[in-house]
């Protein structure tokens, strides 16, 4: 589904990614772990198309398409979703207006008809109930005045409504208490499916107690330095990154 090959990325002449190769197949959940500054979030933002990152070598194929040649909105319409580590506050734009505009923009790009107001609200209610989100909160401006946990739940909510093919989740677990962590983990588990993929970026083992990955990769200094099964995450929790990063 997602195939990253030898990806090199610079930010203002500073190399951040130095040859990342990683492949996630349909139906798989991969975890990407690593210390601060390893380049995990840079990888997520490059994949979603954020400006300011210069790809100097390598390629990324998503569902057979050259991902790096696509505009950010086209990547979303193709089915890629980035769950932000720090979801952005947008004063003056209501959550629901934003989400309906985004969903319809994606549908137009895919040649699908726009969703009706009634159908949209039906989906919103169902998803909000599962995530324990208040409808009143969803009418408020995007992420404004939300707690850290509410922002992360709002990311999971958006993912549920937009129904992407691939979820790229950047430290979705940071800032969550144990109950919110379980809610978000349940969301990821519900998202799992034979034609969907997940790349889960996280610092800690604890999310992986609730979402069992098919593979775990460790990133350090802009490279993947180790890959393995779920046991690798537990080893890291016990021994730290030091041994692998060295």
């Amino acid at each position: 589904m997602l195939d990253i090959r030898d990806l090199h990325v610079r930010v203002e002449d500073r190399p951040i990614l130095e040859g990342v190769t990683l492949s996630v197949g349909a139906g798989e959940v991969h975890a990407l772990m690593g210390p601060n500054g390893a380049g995990k979030s840079t990888l997520a933002h490059v994949l979603a198309g954020r400006e300011g990152f210069e790809v100097t070598a390598g390629s990324v194929t998503f569902l057979g398409q050259d991902l790096l040649a696509m505009e950010p909105h086209a990547r979303a319409a193709a089915g890629l979703f980035l769950g932000f580590q720090y979801p952005v506050e947008i004063p003056g734009v209501s959550n629901l207006l934003f989400l309906r505009t985004a969903l319809n923009a994606q549908r137009r790009q895919r040649g699908e008809p726009e969703i009706s107001g009634a159908e949209f609200l039906r989906r919103v209610r169902a998803e909000a109930e599962v995530l324990g989100l208040d409808m009143e909160m969803l009418k408020r401006p995007v992420n404004v005045g939300f707690s850290g946990g509410e922002k992360k739940r709002n990311e999971a909510f958006q993912m549920g409504i937009l129904a992407p093919r691939f979820a790229l989740l950047d430290e979705t677990d940071s800032g969550l208490d144990i109950d919110a962590l379980k809610v978000v983990a349940d969301g990821i588990n519900r998202f799992r499916g034979p034609d969907r993929g997940v790349l889960l970026i996280t610092h800690y083992q604890r999310l992986l107690d609730h979402v069992r990955p098919d593979a775990v990769h460790v990133m350090a200094a802009g490279r993947i330095v180790a890959s393995g099964g779920p046991e690798l995450a537990r080893r890291l929790e016990a021994e730290g990154y030091g041994a692998l990063a060295a």
């Binding site: 400006e51 947008i90 003056g92």
Partner: protein, 363 residues
């Protein structure tokens, strides 16, 4: 002859009055009018039309130029009083509802002046929409509006300026008696020049004025606004929210003044001036001015100029919005803050639609 202000005069630094200087002695021509149906705000209203310095249709109002001579001198308003050949007077009796009145001003080539006078009796209500437009010719359209609101009267005024050429100078002076209410919104979108002034004088206890505005400056525009509230007596309130957008090489400026007179205790004023430049070649100037001569007052103010936040834009794009749509949504959110006080449901929808259309012209 009254002297035109220059940029050296205090309070006129950002005003672009070159067309006034050039056209002052040129009488207005009888140009063909643009399609009036397309100009007016789509609400049920009584309508008057002024064009080229004459009343084309009084719309049931009294056609007479009758300035309020008790107001303090003001160069452009005084030139209007001196030189206007046309004007309208609208009086709404005590306790009556005057409904919605729209006055359409069309600038034709040359200089033209108009004087509008509105008097609302005690407890009376009125919605006044002023729509200013033009054809293809350069013009100076100088509009003076003098308003008196008796005790408990309520006026909602919307000034819409959507000109393509020429200079519009529109000055409103509103005197408010006890417990009177003014809600004033200026929506100015133009690639040309405009000087918009609104001055509220809170002269009776319990009076409240809201002076809001959106300036959308594109192309070579020079848009300049002055929003001023005088708290002359105790226990009055004012709100000012101005949002300025400038693209291309355009300039937009607002001076927001709050003046609290000696002894005007319990004055409650809040002001927010914010600007956004879409390109670095554009400019926004904000000038908050607070002159407070009483000690038991609340005067909050904030002022900031910025650009579109690239992270906000990326967040929207990452959810599937094309860049232009993401930008339009952010601009709308920014400008809408000035419309928040527009509580009349008859107006909020068409005025918001107006704003969205004008923002699209920026993209």
């Amino acid at each position: 002859m009254i002297r035109l202000p220059s940029r050296r005069d205090e309070g006129w630094r950002w005003a672009d009055l070159r067309l006034a200087e050039r056209l002052r002695a040129v009488p207005p021509a009888n140009d063909r009018l643009p399609d009036l149906a397309a100009l007016r705000l789509p609400v049920p209203a009584r309508r008057a039309v002024l064009a080229g310095g004459t009343v084309v249709d009084a719309g049931g109002l009294v056609a007479r130029a009758d300035p309020d001579r008790s107001l303090a001198p003001h160069p452009l308003a005084d030139i209007a009083a001196e030189e206007a050949r046309a004007g309208l007077v609208l009086e709404v009796g005590a306790g009556e509802d005057g409904g919605i009145v729209e006055c359409v001003h069309v600038g034709t080539s040359g200089a033209q002046h108009a004087v509008l006078r509105v008097v609302l009796g005690a407890g009376a209500r009125l919605v006044l929409v002023q729509t200013v437009a033009d054809g293809a010719a350069e013009h100076w359209s100088n509009i003076r509006l003098d308003v008196r609101l008796e005790a408990g009267a309520e006026l909602l005024r919307v000034l819409r300026v959507a000109t393509g050429r020429g200079l519009v100078s529109a000055r409103a002076a509103v005197r408010l008696a006890a417990s009177a209410r003014l809600c004033d919104l200026s929506l100015v979108a133009s690639p040309a020049a405009a000087r918009i002034e609104t001055h509220a004088l809170l002269e009776g206890e319990g009076a409240r004025a809201e002076l809001h505005g959106v300036l959308i400056a594109r192309g070579p525009a020079g848009l300049d606004a002055v929003s001023r509230v005088d708290h002359a007596v105790p226990a009055t309130a004012s709100r000012q929210v101005w949002r300025l957008l400038a693209a291309g090489t355009a300039q937009a400026a607002v001076e927001g003044a709050v003046v609290v007179a000696p002894g005007a205790q319990k004055s409650d004023a809040a002001q927010s001036l914010r600007g956004m430049v879409l390109q670095r070649t554009a400019a926004v100037n904000l000038k908050p001015e607070l002159a407070i001569h009483a000690d038991d007052v609340s005067c909050a103010h904030g002022c900031a100029v910025g650009e579109i936040d690239p992270l906000q834009r990326f967040y929207l794009e990452s959810r599937g919005l094309p860049r232009s749509a993401a930008q339009a949504l952010l601009l709308r959110a920014f400008a809408s803050e000035a419309l928040a006080a527009l509580a009349d449901p008859r107006l909020s929808e068409p005025v918001t639609a107006d704003l969205v259309r004008q923002l699209e012209a920026l993209a």
